[in-house]
Symmetry: C2
Subunit: 344 residues, 2 copies
């Protein structure tokens, strides 16, 4: 299994990327890595070149660049070259901590969609905040690949999400829910009412109904789907509030003098647990599901551990053959083609 | 100033409503209250009937009822009677802690819209989480009156929000922002891009651009507007996460033994400060802005303090004449009528 790595992506690239890749290489003997980037910067950072090859590229896509234009213009950038390697079968998956828009564009335009999928969905693996079941996670999409989604996109997200939950996370018959503005089945605008009805009618989906924005982390479902607009805003509100609470606690301790300092020291193990629980990077990166190969990004400020975890997640995706299942499910069978012809 | 109170609304009505009203009556000598509800239940709870009159009603709208149907059928319910009193000028404002949908429907269908306003917006007054400026708040709408909003609705929300911020909260030249999926001005789906452009072009609005879902409580604006769908989901995600963090801390203290208990005791003043800061009911209820009179709801589990605070907020609205300003702004002047004719 070979992973094409954008060595130049991320706030602390290439140093942190190389460190994370070396950790993952030591952990997974079956993995090989092609690191795309400025060779004279990348190569000296590698401590042990076992199963790691550097492929020189001359361009870089910066964090602020307009994604589609950058992908089209910078043919020799690390992102374009790594994605192209995956398309041409020289690697099995693509990993980057760089410009999110450029990664999404490279996934869509270079790696390519699974036939039958209209829009891939950016998929986050998020914690279920139940301290009694540490490490439980759920699948959340589309967290931001599409600012505008159609009903059929969300229905496809449900299939993509349940395959991931089942194959990669090992959840049996995953419960799928729809993010909506109320728990009752008649809630929502026209769009979400229609999606709800179609999910409820789908025999392939174990649909458990609506969840509200405040319920995301409560473990009510194994997969939560939404149009890309709503999911993006709700995820940012959730992450932002968790960070804000931690910031308020820190500020409060600082202002509270010796008493607060002592209290914080006593509570530290517990507060660290909560911080880790709420820290999404413990659980890997965000996957652009619906593509022909794993395309996975982690955030720009990821540390080597987060990069190692994300590579572990890519390995799980490859081992589980979740993409083969997706291709199979969406590929037109003679029966499906007949149906299409009838409807057209 | 007379307030028509739904004495039967809320999880602990009428007991808690009567207590809150008596607190507010003691605090504000200029306020009178008409309490609509089952007189044989309400009257015995009142300790001192000064400036409080009970008006008997025979029906009740329950929490689960379909709002519009309930409003149309239950003519002698406390909600319908109290709203009708406002429409007929027997009271200046309507307050309830009952069925949100029924309150919104009664506001819209009975109290009625200001001429020129297409859809009223449910407006929450939320905390700015800056411990250095305790008590700072911002205006957030539409947090849930409309599952589907048009562009012109959001533009009207911006006007309604800035009047409230200026008049009721005393903010000079309030900064207005749009909830969007990115901070840059080119972000968003078509709808939000269009709203952004129109807000930026409006000379009446001090528009400061987009804020993201994670920025709601950070004080980047005095008024944050959004379509009702997005604002509802983002608010629930924010509130839900804040509650979840407090729950996780409590669970962690419980599991952490004596050490954690001692730590929690030492940190208690700080944790209580954070809890209070994040507790929206400290700041009053949610106002349905765009109506001819203040229609204000608080949540069903409100305690007497929250009800007293909400009545204080209604008094501020009446004192500030914010609704007169709204009527004035949206009423057709000869000039505006000319413009309309030209465009039509």
């Amino acid at each position: 299994m070979k992973i094409a790595v954008d060595a130049m992506g991320g706030d602390f690239a290439p140093q942190v990327v190389v460190e994370g890749v070396e950790q993952a290489r030591d952990l997974y003997p079956e993995l090989e890595f092609d690191l795309y980037g400025l060779a004279d910067q990348v190569t000296p950072l590698i401590k042990d070149q076992t199963r790691i090859k550097v492929i020189n590229t001359t361009e870089m896509i910066e964090m602020g660049e307009e994604p589609v234009r950058a992908i089209r213009k910078k043919k020799d950038s690390s992102i374009v070259r790594a994605a192209t390697a995956v398309r041409e079968g020289q690697a099995d998956a693509f990993f980057s901590a760089g410009n999110t828009g450029a990664i999404l564009a490279a996934g869509l335009l270079i790696v390519g969609r699974v036939k039958g999928i209209d829009r891939p969905g950016l998929t986050s693996i998020l914690p279920i905040a139940n301290p009694d079941h540490p490490g439980q996670r759920f699948v959340y999409l589309d967290s931001g690949a599409n600012a505008e989604s159609k009903e059929k996109n969300v229905l496809q997200f449900a299939q993509l999400g349940r395959f991931y939950s089942e194959r990669v996370l090992g959840v049996e018959n995953p419960r799928v829910a729809l993010l909506n503005n109320g728990a009752e089945s008649d809630k929502g605008d026209t769009f979400h009412k229609n999606v709800h009805a179609q999910l409820a009618a789908d025999p392939d989906v174990n649909f458990v109904g609506n969840v509200e924005g405040g319920d995301l982390l409560l473990g009510k479902a194994d997969v939560i789907v939404s149009d890309g607009w709503t999911a993006n805003v709700a995820l940012k509100a959730t992450e932002g509030t968790a960070k804000l609470m931690i910031k308020l606690i820190k500020a409060g301790v600082k202002k509270g003098g010796l008493r607060a300092l002592l209290g914080a020291w006593l509570l530290k193990p517990m507060l660290v647990d909560i911080k880790n629980l709420m820290n999404a990077s413990t659980y890997g990166g965000a996957v652009l599901l619906g593509l022909k190969a794993p395309v996975v990004k982690t955030h720009g400020s990821a540390d080597p551990d987060a990069i190692r975890n994300t590579i572990g997640q890519i390995k799980q995706m490859l081992d589980s053959k979740v993409i083969d299942e997706t291709v199979e499910y969406f590929s037109p069978t003679p029966e499906k083609v007949d149906n299409l012809t009838e409807n057209d």
